[in-house]
């Protein structure tokens, strides 16, 4: 468990600014399409 957490922290520290920017962009665009679109996939 400790070894896995350490590996995760090391991998996490390899996230650079561009990765974070891309993640923010994707999350923002996800909210955008959910907000702007109005498809219907079921009742209830």
């Amino acid at each position: 468990m400790n070894k896995k957490l350490t590996e995760l922290a090391i991998r996490g520290s390899r996230l650079d600014r561009s990765h974070v920017q891309l993640l923010v962009l994707i999350l923002s665009l996800a909210m955008l399409v959910l907000g702007v679109g109005a498809p219907s996939d079921g009742g209830g």
Binding site: L32, V33, V36, A38
Partner: protein, 190 residues
């Protein structure tokens, strides 16, 4: 979910294209991204979260949807120079027009809704009531701008039943292109 699928496909296409060109993936970053969560937060409460969706009054939800679309409109307009955004903007405008014309909801006919899961019995008693997250059940003859409503169904072989509007199709195309477009050496938002 179908629009999120377009987003994911666009991302994958962009990543694959960048890899084939031997370049890092560099999408164009729109300005004023804060407008998106500002516009989406009210919709989250009135349309997407079951707990709040049932608690908040009908008239509030009907007012929130077109209002939040106006904020999204500002964002899309400010970023109209970003490739893909004009297509998304066009889809947004079409959805806004039909939603505003029909009391703040996206209309869907009983015939179309009957193809969707969870539709239940679509009798006359349900006409004019809320259907799904953002839709209202209306007869086609009672729908303003019916050609812009949720009237397009995916082919049955898709194994995913969803009703789309013309605006949704343009939004999907716009977000796909925004993420899939070939990377450039010096990306800007102008």
């Amino acid at each position: 979910m179908i629009l999120l699928g377009a987003l994911i496909l666009g991302l994958l296409a962009g990543l694959a294209g960048a890899a084939l060109q031997g370049r890092p993936y560099q999408p164009l970053y729109p300005r004023h991204l804060w407008l998106i969560p500002a516009a989406f937060a009210p919709q989250l409460l009135v349309a997407y979260l079951p707990a709040t969706r049932e608690l908040l009054p009908y008239w509030l939800a009907a007012a929130v949807l077109p209002s939040s679309l106006l904020v999204f409109l500002v964002f899309a307009w400010v970023n109209r120079g970003v490739p893909g955004m004009p297509l998304l903007l066009a889809g947004l405008v079409l959805n806004l027009l039909v939603i505003a014309a029909n009391g703040g909801w996206m209309p869907i006919s009983p015939e179309t809704a009957s193809h969707l899961p969870g539709a239940g019995v679509l009798d006359a008693a349900r006409l004019g009531t809320r259907f799904g997250q953002k839709d209202i059940l209306l007869l086609t003859e009672d729908t303003r701008l019916a050609f812009l409503s949720d009237r397009f169904l995916l082919p049955s072989w898709f194994h995913y039943a969803v009703a789309l509007s013309l605006g949704d199709i343009l939004v999907a195309g716009g977000v796909f292109w925004l993420l899939a477009r070939p990377a450039r050496a010096n990306p800007t938002t102008e």
